[in-house]
């Protein structure tokens, strides 16, 4: 198909023609009988992996199968926060790899993903928080990841709505700021990768649910049974977020995963009032303002595993009481829409991007609440791992075997709260 470049000029030209000449952003195709690589899961991670397989590894026949519509899972259900100021060198390298790819993604894909480096500020409310965040700041600086310490007054200057009154229940004692962090337009990431991958010949097959994984007598993956027929594949990469356990169980692979509901919400749109992303782990809330003007708000997962894509009212109540405490002028704002995703969580809260015990079967999962920010990096590394049948040095630590061997990358525990 002809490549339709996106630009102001193309927009203008096609406007003259009443916008009648646009073509589908990705080809609508029937599944072929066989592929070299099939990616299961048409979210940003899966579509991105397909794109990099085609663009960087020159894999010939690639398909992405998606049980619903692309970008309909966690890619389209998150709060779009992007940052890389993680504590451990392994994590920081992984997420910073991603941030670097984010920085050029709109141009590489020729699709404006609206990556907005407006800064992510993590608030410290206790002496313990201060210690933890300063440890992050030092570790990040030494790793070459930007992260700086702000006093409460500096935090307020960076984010004027912030309440730094020392008499509130959990006063702000300071903040760690990553200026390169920010947000992006979530849907555009899926569509941009889909369009770019499709142009490179990747088949994107929607409404195609995997119902079985066939293995040859040697145990190697040979085909996927799907609701749209049998699809042969020499390699299968699973990038199915909350549904990973269900998909991999089709191949008899057990994983250290649990799937939890994660809710987020937006307010009605208002004129620009919130310039950055602010996060508070101690009182469980984070907020930014979308380019459309909505306050985009999230918090932690619900308490129990579930695949219902909805969460509990009391979780929202706790999220919003925290937001109102930190930003008391927002109390009169109104929630416009709430939604839920299913996040797959590993015991150490770090992802798995790795080979599985089944030859030819690869998995990219366990992103918990942090998958969106990793999209390009994760996709890039997953493509590498599939293409070369071995991990890239950056994702080499993120194996399944680390749980057996005790090499956990435990970011959550690193922020331990005992005192």
């Amino acid at each position: 198909m002809s490549k339709q470049r996106f630009s102001a000029l193309s927009l203008f030209r096609r406007a003259l023609g009443g916008h009648r000449s646009w073509e589908p952003q990705w080809r609508k195709v029937e599944p072929k009988p066989s592929y070299d690589v099939v990616i299961v899961g048409g979210g940003g991670h899966g579509l991105g992996a397909a794109y990099y397989l085609a663009a960087e590894h020159r894999v010939g026949r690639i398909a992405v199968v998606e049980k619903g519509w692309i970008g309909g899972g966690n890619t389209g259900r998150n709060t779009t926060i992007i940052r890389s100021n993680y504590l451990f060198a392994e994590s920081a390298a992984l997420y910073d790899h991603s941030v670097k790819l984010w920085e050029d993604l709109s141009q590489v894909l020729n699709y404006n993903v609206m990556f907005s480096q407006r800064g992510v500020m993590m608030l410290a409310h206790t002496v313990h928080d201060v210690q933890v965040f300063k440890r992050h700041v030092h570790a990040n600086r030494c790793s070459g990841v930007d992260n700086e310490w702000l006093t409460p007054e500096e935090a307020k200057a960076f984010c004027p709505p912030l309440n730094i009154d020392p008499d509130i229940r959990y006063p702000v004692l300071g903040a760690a700021l990553q200026r390169r962090g920010g947000t992006a337009r979530h849907d555009a990431v899926a569509w941009g990768y889909a369009r770019a991958a499709s142009e490179l010949g990747v088949d994107i097959i929607e409404n195609c649910e995997v119902t079985g994984i066939r293995r040859d007598p040697q145990g190697r993956v040979e085909a996927l049974e799907t609701t749209r027929g049998l699809i042969r594949a020499s390699k299968v990469g699973v990038s199915a977020a909350g549904n990973t356990s269900a998909v991999l169980s089709l191949a008899g692979v057990r994983l250290p995963l649990e799937s939890y509901p994660l809710q987020a919400l937006v307010s009605e749109p208002v004129k620009p009032v919130f310039p950055c992303v602010a996060m508070s782990n101690t009182i469980h809330a984070y907020v930014s303002q979308s380019d459309k003007g909505e306050l985009v708000i999230g918090a932690g997962t619900d308490a129990y595993t579930s695949y219902t894509q909805r969460g509990a009212l009391h979780i929202n109540m706790h999220t919003l009481d925290a937001i109102c405490e930190l930003f008391p002028m927002f109390r009169r704002m109104r929630m416009m829409r709430n939604w839920g995703g299913i996040v797959d969580v590993t015991p150490d809260r770090s992802p798995i991007i790795a080979k599985t015990p089944v030859p030819g079967l690869y998995v990219n999962c366990g992103w918990g609440t942090g998958g969106f920010k990793a999209t390009p990096g994760s996709a890039h590394l997953f493509a590498w791992t599939i293409a070369k049948d071995e991990p890239h040095p950056i994702n080499a630590p993120f194996t399944i075997e680390r749980f057996r061997d005790g090499y956990l990358i435990d970011e959550a525990a690193a922020a331990a709260v005992a005192h």
Binding site: A8, S143, A188, A416
Partner: protein
Amino acid sequence: MSRWRTATGGRVDRTRTLAFRFDGTRYEGLAGDTLASALLANGVHLVGRSFKYHRPRGILTAGAEEPSALVTVRRDSARVTPDLRATQLELYEGLDALSLNRWPSLERDVGRINDWLSPLFPAGFYYKTFMWPKSAWKSLYEPVIRRAAGLGVAPTEPDPDRYAQCYAHCDVLVVGAGPAGLAAALAAADQGARVLICDEQSEFGGSLLADRHATIDGGPAAAWVAHAVADLAANPRVVCLPRTTAFGYFPHNLIGLAERLTDHLAAPAPHAARERLWQVRARSVVLATGAVERPLVFPGNDRPGVMLAGAGRTYLNRYGVRVGARVVLVTATDAGYEAAIDLHDAGVEIAGIADLRTAASGELPAAARAAGIEVTASATVLGTSGNRRVAGITIAQISSAGSSAARRTLACDAVLMSGGFTPSVHLFSQSRGTLRWSDDHQAFLPDRSAERERSAGACRGVVDLAETIADGLTAGAESAPSRTATARRIVATRPRSSDGGHLGAVPLASGASQKSFVDWQHDVTIKDLAIATREGFRSIEHVKRFTTTGMATDQGKTSNLNALAIVARAIDAPIPRVGLTTFRMPYTPTTFGTFAGPSRGDLFDPVRRTPIHDWAAAAGAVFEDVGMWKRARYFPQPGEDMHAAVARECRAVRSSCGLFDASTLGKIEVVGPGAAEFLERLYVNSWANLGVGRCRYGILCREDGFITDDGVVARLAADRFHVTTTTGGAPRVLAMMEDYRQTEWPDLEVWLTSTTEAWAVIAVQGPNARDVLRGCVEGIDLEASAFPHMSVAAARICGVEGMVMRVSFTGELGYELNVPADYGLEIWKAVHAAGAAHGGITCYGTETMHVLRAEKGYIIVGQDTDGTVTPVDAGLSWAVGRKKPDFVGRRSLQRQSMQAPDRKQLVGLRARDGRTLLDEGAQVADRPNQQPPMQLIGHVTSSYESAVLGSPIALAMVAGGRARIGQTLYVPMPGGDVEVDVVSPVFYDPKGERINA
């Protein structure tokens, strides 16, 4: 009275005139008006500018589905609320509303240029441009987009209003108090059920409040409503909640209601709650949520003055407002005729009725014709005219060949339209009930319920009034837990008006030059939908996200089905195949403050204070938050900063005596014949050999082998242990213990009781501690020989039965007095006074505690450990019961990785210059002068100025650290490396002589 207000009729109070302001202009309305009806009564139709094209916009509806007439309401500088719907705002004296999205004024808005440039702004245009040059996104494009986007202006001052919350339970919750809902509530109440009925409007009655034609039980509908409401109000088992929106349907029949308490009042009581969140758990739910009239999608359908037919009727019949003097009806249902007839009867000239249907027959069309109104069948709309208000409409008849004929332009000042009714299945869908497409109704209707729930009336496609009421009666009665009373019967008659309907664009709209709007608020036109499908966005979720149709503050209540039909037609698929956008809470926007409720300030989270807190506060203590506790961090004297205060406190403990409030430490009484075995299995330490009256430092690992908590455990009797935990870890440890006790080891007869708050704990630490306590403690010989380090005994402490533990977290001779909490304050004071007689006693806080323990190399779990540290890493291998066959975490510690020599281990660090205080969290490297990314081998966990040593000290976790003692390492700081010596983590009194004094 303005020419737009009728002389009589309606439910407004014509004796009460209310003044209000809109964009600074003063107007008058009547009590009972909404802002929308009052504006219309003043002939104001232009009320806002659209989001993207800044087109002039008016009032489309008369209810919660309004996409267009949004305003900001200001009560004072702090009480500013953006994005409110004029159709829902009850008028009050002094109401001050501002239009949105316009500059400099509503009439003259420069943003209007966007409308002329609109060909450049089709759906999703921003994905295709603004990419070059790259740096311009942040500096130019995004700021411009952000400024252009957004509706109202967010409040800038803290909201002073209160918000309330409550839980409620009922047998039957009825959502919606229209005919079906009222009938359901009456029927359920007849059966003795506990009923809660809510409606988003200020009055119960729903559609009946604007109905001139219906009769119920032989009288006017409004009279029946009044009677029904009175009946319900008189029943003590019924709760009636007007102005209350059921915004969310949560699992297991939990419904969230938002009750608006004061927004309709001119002068609310100063401290009255503004809104109340109800969390209602209902045995059964009856959804009687009605239906929303659909606009018609025709060219120029967004001009002010173009509104829904039902809204026109509502403004007339309920508010006594004529929406125009010369009105054209465009309809695909009989409801349009009903509106025409009502308006005609009220003296409005009806310039014509354009009916999209091929045949305009039936009772209501006949009545319209009889009234002399001209009716055009097989009609379509080709466009409208008028700038700030509609001035004309061009209609045409579709010939049998499908082209337009008999084109006519009718002058008018309002256009009413009716495209049919979309059942409000929002809550049903939120409950996870399944929807089915009904060809008969041209709508999605409730199919299978997921919860104990029934839909009744228009929300499930029942349209006839008599049937609606009967449906409500059945739903109510069958939802009641028991049915004993005979069923109530209600007789109702009303002309059928909702037959017919049209989905999607009107014929020939796509060829018109004027825009045909689907989503008013987000300015989504049929062209945008066409572009989306052309570009391959075919799932309705994709179309919605690409065009943003249905994603505005009305969440597509008037637009979703039209969008769906247009997409279905474009891709030639049946509507159900295209899908239905997901319904999510909230049904209508719901105030953050309502969710937050009273949880603010000190009620945001409990503030836990020890029995000694007030004394410490009076003594000038500075507190820190640890979990929910407030702990005294240091006790500055006049002129002292933290550093000086801590240095003084440290010196006092090392040289004489310090007093410390340790009451927040977690305490668990472990009792029963299996107590020792229980701890044996749980902790890394051995307990069987711990004698009664002795204490031991215990370490608790998770099953993965990492330290999760620590604390001293005292054996009070053979079958009784007093276990202490960290302050923050107490609930976690108790929960973990209960887990193992109940689920893994039910064979053990052991029970756990939290005693954290039963005891106040007063730590008396320092070389003079024994002397100070001698006069305070009865029943124990405190001498070292009789009561050595790590002893415990019951005693009378200042006259009260308590417990003394000889323990020390300072490295000094120390005791911890455990006294019943109510006596804590007085005994603290008594010990403080006793100290004065023995060379003085100094209160110290957590900061000094941290310094003192760091001088001794004692870890703080959560500071020196971080959830990745094993007992061996922390230098505590001496505590691990080597001979024990098992304990929680033991198996994990046997893994090779846990034994690796390069694991991070606890060491001490001292700056080589003897002066530099390291930063806590600073990193450690074994090579100097590295550039990022550096090879790092550890980090500083604790760092303090040591007053007693006269120099800074630090603890660190360093890879293979114990083998590095004596080496020089480097702490890379922004200004360069700090050279440090690796030393033993025990900086002070390494032999431990002082502690055993």
